[in-house]
């Protein structure tokens, strides 16, 4: 019912193009995360659904109804802002009730629904307080309450957790996810945090900043696993995953090689980059077939080590889960990739190449 569609949408501010040729459909009841570095237009894309920005070209449809020319108040969407954006002069109850009051609902219904929202978000004891008397997490819960109280078709989240400290962010993330179980509305969630994107979204849409020379805004959309396992281009490959994917240039010759190791595959024509995620590399003793190198730095994260290895192809990062032996810096090693988990990209276009 509340399917959201971008049809060839473009947006520019004062001649500066921020979004171009955006085609994207968010299914009814789906939770899609827009992710990308700053300036990639992900928030602008969201704000265009809310009607806070007007598309420069193309059409945005909600529930197969064009939104062109409709004011934000006529779109039945709810939005949660990064800065909370609470009404400072109203109590918590007043804030949550505001959308219903604007919709002209009867007082008794407003009271019931405010209470319902407050119960869901554990805001009961704070209903008479003002935003200034609340902590950051409580304020963002009020903002959530103000959104859910209206039972809207569409929920928009614009980096709602970015202002919270790390602990609170994790618990609010869980809170939003459990909210999502209760309310089957279409949700779009904007973030620059890939952990949020990977853990929350049914699907993730990765945006690239046009100012950095990318030709289109939407680089890839898919489930978190699809994006992680089969990034469609270098931008997505680099953006998702921490530590980042290792990229190694493939040198001429018709066989695909990794150092001294033959990867049993034909090398594609043209300049190519071979991508291997840090967890798909393993440390071998020096002399074993693979890419030779020397350990420069070992970062211990408790559960795992990030081992930085200096090779002739540059520095690669290996994620070592085996904690029985701590790698030592200065040690000579050989790196071996998991052949099932290799990614090939054309160097100039950045597009993913098929394995042959």
């Amino acid at each position: 019912m509340a399917e959201i569609e971008y049809k060839s949408v473009a947006k520019s501010f004062d001649q500066v193009s921020v979004i171009t040729d955006l085609n994207l459909t968010v299914g009814d009841g789906e939770f899609v995360v827009f992710v990308g570095p700053s300036g990639c237009g992900k928030s602008t894309a969201l704000r265009m659904i809310a009607g806070l920005e007007e598309a420069s070209a193309g059409d945005i449809r909600i529930g197969n109804r064009s939104m062109a020319g409709l004011a934000p108040s006529e779109r039945n969407v709810a939005m949660v802002f990064q800065s909370y954006a609470l009404y400072p002069h109203m109590t918590v109850a007043g804030n949550i009730a505001f959308p219903l009051k604007m919709a002209g609902r009867p007082a008794a219904e407003i009271a019931d629904r405010v209470k319902e929202a407050a119960d869901i978000l554990n805001l009961g004891p704070y209903l008479d307080r003002r935003p200034a008397q609340l902590s950051g997490g409580q304020r963002q819960r009020v903002a959530l309450g103000r959104a859910i109280v209206r039972h809207p078709d569409v929920f928009l989240f614009d980096e709602p957790l970015s202002n919270l400290d790390a602990d609170l962010r994790v618990s609010m993330r869980a809170e939003i996810m459990s909210l999502r179980q209760r309310i089957r509305a279409t949700m779009i969630y904007v973030t620059h945090d890939q952990t949020e994107a990977m853990t929350m979204g049914d699907r993730i849409a990765v945006f690239a900043p046009l100012k950095d020379g990318y030709q289109r805004s939407l680089m890839q959309i898919g489930t978190p696993d699809e994006l992680y396992d089969r990034p469609a281009n270098l931008f997505v490959a680099r953006f998702l995953g921490s530590p980042k994917m290792n990229l190694v240039a493939c040198h001429g010759g018709d066989r695909l090689r990794f150092g001294s190791l033959d990867l049993d595959a034909e090398a594609p024509a043209g300049d190519t980059l071979l991508g291997v995620r840090p967890e798909d590399l393993s440390l071998q003793d020096a002399g074993v077939a693979g890419l030779a190198g020397r350990i420069r730095l070992v970062e211990s994260l408790g559960a795992e080590y990030y081992v930085h290895v200096e090779t002739e192809e540059g520095e690669l990062v290996v994620r070592v889960m085996d904690r029985s032996r701590r790698p030592v810096s200065g040690e000579a090693v050989s790196l071996r990739p998991n052949r099932q988990a290799l990614h090939l990209f054309a160097k100039t276009s950045g597009e993913r190449l098929p394995r042959r």
Binding site: A85, L86, Y87, P88, M102, P131, A132, R146
Partner: protein, 277 residues
């Protein structure tokens, strides 16, 4: 111990500053409490025989110059004049701050209008007022006061609205408020402190306005700024300084009281807690 000394020194400096800056006011207040005889013989700030005789004399002249009538005229005209200015300027300021309506030319134009000597408007307005019967009416005076106040109020409101966090208004729009309801329920409550500050300023300007009070009124709507001057030569001969001082003090009280009452409102931040600061 030394902290108390510092405090003491601080208060001495305050007291001195207050004394110097307010000396004319203090001198007037003291003069109003001296008898006519004492004013000529004792110029010091110490009153030998305090008396309310000058105030009594002011009210005794009510048959010729009614101070309460002048005060009422000023109060009504100034209240309407400043309220009207706010009512006119608030939506305009919002349009300028958020929709950029006329921000480039209308705002500078209106503000520069304030720099033009007001006497230029006197004759056309007088002739117009004559036609429509607004001469010597409180409402007529209030209309002019509102126009005199609009530039200042507009600048204050436009800049303060531009400084409000825009996300709150965006939230209001998404929550279903159109522009008018957004103004009434969200922007206006958040602007209360600036509205209060500009009301006080507008009221004070209105209260002190002399030129139009002099030209546009003859008797029924004479404001206290003009009316007070009548008392200076009330007794025919020379100026009765005691009476003049008493009139001046009476004329100063209402704006003083309003300023004090509104002061707390002005200093308050209206947006605390609204957005991550």
């Amino acid at each position: 111990m030394s902290k108390r000394l510092v405090n003491l020194a601080r208060w001495l400096v305050f007291a001195l500053a207050v004394l110097v800056l307010n000396f004319p006011v203090i001198a007037t207040a003291i003069t109003s409490l001296k008898s006519e005889a004492e004013i000529t013989t004792n110029a010091s700030l110490i009153i030998e025989a305090p008396t309310l005789a000058n105030y009594a004399a002011v009210f005794a002249m009510a048959d010729r110059f009614d101070i309460l009538h002048f005060l009422t005229n000023s109060l009504v005209a100034s209240l309407i004049g400043s309220a009207l200015a706010i009512a006119l300027a608030f939506p305009a300021a919002y349009a300028m701050a958020r929709f950029n309506v006329g921000r480039a030319w209308l705002l500078p134009l209106v503000v520069n209008l304030r720099a033009v000597p007001l006497i230029i408007f006197a004759i056309p307005i007088y002739l117009m007022y004559q036609q429509v019967g607004l001469l010597d009416t409180r409402f007529g005076l209030a209309l002019i006061l509102a126009l005199v106040n609009v530039p200042l109020v507009l600048v204050l409101l436009a800049s303060s609205i531009a400084d409000l966090p825009i996300e709150i208004e965006e939230a209001g729009r998404v929550d279903g408020a159109g522009t008018l309801r957004l103004l009434a329920y969200v922007v206006a409550p958040m602007s209360l402190n600036v509205v209060a500050a500009s009301s006080v300023l507008a009221f004070i300007y209105s209260w002190n306005e002399f030129l139009f009070g002099l030209i546009m009124t003859t008797n029924k709507a004479t404001p206290v700024s003009v009316g007070a001057s009548f008392f200076f030569a009330a007794s025919g001969g020379g100026v009765r300084w005691g009476v003049a001082a008493a009139v001046m003090i009476l004329a100063t009280l209402p704006p003083l009281v309003i300023g004090l009452v509104m002061y707390r409102q002005i200093g308050r931040s209206m947006t605390a807690g609204a957005v991550k600061g």
